[in-house]
Symmetry: C2
Subunit: 361 residues, 2 copies
């Protein structure tokens, strides 16, 4: 038996190759892999066109270590990138992960991040895994994930394909993640406004569903392929909020989306025993479920629930005639692309450079 | 005409969509692209297996804005990832780029980074380009690049294929980048030890070759494919230093590498008019050229110059019988895999978690 190292061994003490060995030990092999970590690149075999997406999570603006265990952080990193791949109608095949941390970071945190990445791939997208990465040094914990997917001969499902008459549908949790974040901001801050771990165990005990939705979301990744096979005309994942992301889809498609409060209530008014207000569904954000449009004549794939309809932009009383080539993406300047039961709906969502929140860097 | 905005508009003032529009305007389209930036993923068409690699550069440990113009930083980000793709024998097809910066960062810096990324792709790997990315917020400038390449039906050239009797060859600049870094540390620090821009214009005027090699390296990317077609048995790019990286290649292949000082001198003793000592070639680092081994009977592809020979590990007096499965990667513990004219050569190189240098975070 090797002597057990002390639990808080830091990356500065262990050095790059030691940290790398500990991280790699957490990872399972991806099925598309011809060559895994250890050379200059990983090598992958794909059947069809490749989709690729990248996303960064940085301590402070994007997460707080007081709230996120390393495992949950790794899980969320994987889940949020996998949902982008799914939303193209592709099967996720591989992640690359760049982690940069301060020297005093416990190696255990990186190990837990790797465990969470691997567990999320196995649970949400079996066959997908981490195939490569990079370790570095940064003033705060910094993680950048790139996800690849295989279209397997299918045509990608874009944001721009929604047509008037289509049904708007959603699959996954909706609004719970936003409720979780509100709860953390309400109960999880110290008196100086910084995030505190003190209340987190109590919040997990009292509100496990909304904490899980915020800290370790489980988007329905296989439904991306199901939607593509089920003739979805447009699809995207909801990361910023249903309102702002559906406005992006409506603009890209040159259409208008009218949500139904009754359909939202019926489909998502109670999730895992939690009552979710329509306001939270529309503007909560970080859901990472799949928003898609389908021709009215087609049955929705299992897992998708109807939430609205696609209308022609001009017939919905739009004051914005710009159509899909409009360049403005400023929320509120293009209000007529969205409505709720026929009433104009103003999108609200996340902008990393303008949103203000307590405890932010 | 739009009124010109003030030169130092910050990302916090402009917001995400404004910054994104400015960054996207700098980018050319990659030839493998079926769908570029703007949807949840980019879509790419490849002919053969895919290679993928990722690398992060963070202000402080990896670069200092006092020394690096944004253009050079973008260029180096592209070049260092392209060389990893090239070293597998693949043709680079696409980059994804995640940039996270403080709110007070001038938008112009991100624009210049994008210009540099695009220019490096056009110059070093025509047809490759930035296909997607992510913008976020961080306490220091943080860039994570993932590069993809197409093997076009070829077998990847791994680190593990070198065989006794092979010729060791190198293509690219060697040692100049390390001399550039030494010069910046000698002349480019303020009295408090932090990086200063004051001396940089003078250093560029006096020593353009070594500054360029350090700040905006130009690795011979197409020679990766040339080496693969030219029957290279093993290949990797030299990022940490020729000594430490060739030791990795020797260990992965279960062989010993003997460098020739005379061959190093003849091939790389003078580069662009700069005299480069063998010591700088072996231990300088950040060269990003291609280290490859070729069967002795094969002519070296144009651009590769011989620098040594591959020997059997046991016949070179190795005290380490572990072969390619050895897990230790600590420099100095496996000295017998490398020699210079038959004398044991101790590898030295870069470890982000243990290297100390002036002005580091």
């Amino acid at each position: 038996m090797e002597p057990r190292e002390k639990p808080q061994t830091t990356v500065g003490e262990l050095g790059e190759s030691g940290v790398l060995a500990r991280v790699l030990a957490q990872l399972s092999e991806a099925s598309a892999v011809e060559l895994g970590p250890g050379d200059d690149c990983a090598v992958l075999r794909h059947e069809g066109d490749i989709v690729v997406t990248t996303d960064t999570m940085i301590e402070g603006p994007d997460f707080r270590l007081a709230w996120h265990d390393g495992f949950e952080l790794g899980w969320k990193l994987a889940a949020t990138n996998l949902s982008d791949v799914a939303s193209m109608g592709a099967r996720p095949t591989a992640l690359t992960v760049a982690l940069a941390v301060p020297l005093e970071t416990p190696v255990r945190l990186l190990e837990r991040i790797a465990e969470g990445l691997d567990a999320a791939c196995r649970a949400l997208a079996p066959g997908c895994g981490v195939v490569g990465g990079d370790l570095g040094r940064a003033p705060v914990v910094t993680a950048a994930v790139t996800a690849l997917g295989d279209l397997e001969g299918r045509v990608p499902v874009l944001r721009s394909g929604a047509r008037a008459g289509d049904v708007v549908a959603y699959a996954g949790e909706l609004g719970l993640a936003g409720l979780g974040l509100s709860l953390l901001f309400a109960e999880g801050l110290a008196s100086d406004g910084t995030a505190s771990a003190d209340a987190v165990p109590g919040l997990w005990a009292a509100h496990p569903e909304v904490l899980a939705a915020q800290l370790a979301p489980a988007p329905p990744i296989p439904l991306g392929v199901a939607a593509a096979l089920g003739k979805a005309t447009a699809m995207m994942d909801v990361s910023d909020a249903l309102s702002i992301d559906s406005e992006r889809l409506a603009r890209a498609s040159g259409v208008h989306i009218d949500f139904s409060a009754a359909l939202l209530e019926r489909g998502f008014g109670e999730q895992s025993g939690v009552v979710v207000p329509v306001e939270a569904m529309l503007h909560g954000g970080e859901d990472h479920g799949l928003l898609a449009t389908f021709p009215a004549a087609v049955a929705l794939p299992a897992g998708f629930l109807p939430v609205g309809v696609v209308l022609e932009a001009s017939k919905a009383g739009s004051s914005d005639e710009a159509g899909p080539t409009a360049t403005s993406q400023v929320p509120g300047q293009d209000v007529a692309r969205l409505s709720l039961d026929g009433e104009t709906l103003i999108a609200r969502g996340w902008d990393p450079y303008t949103v203000q929140y307590p405890g932010a860097a």
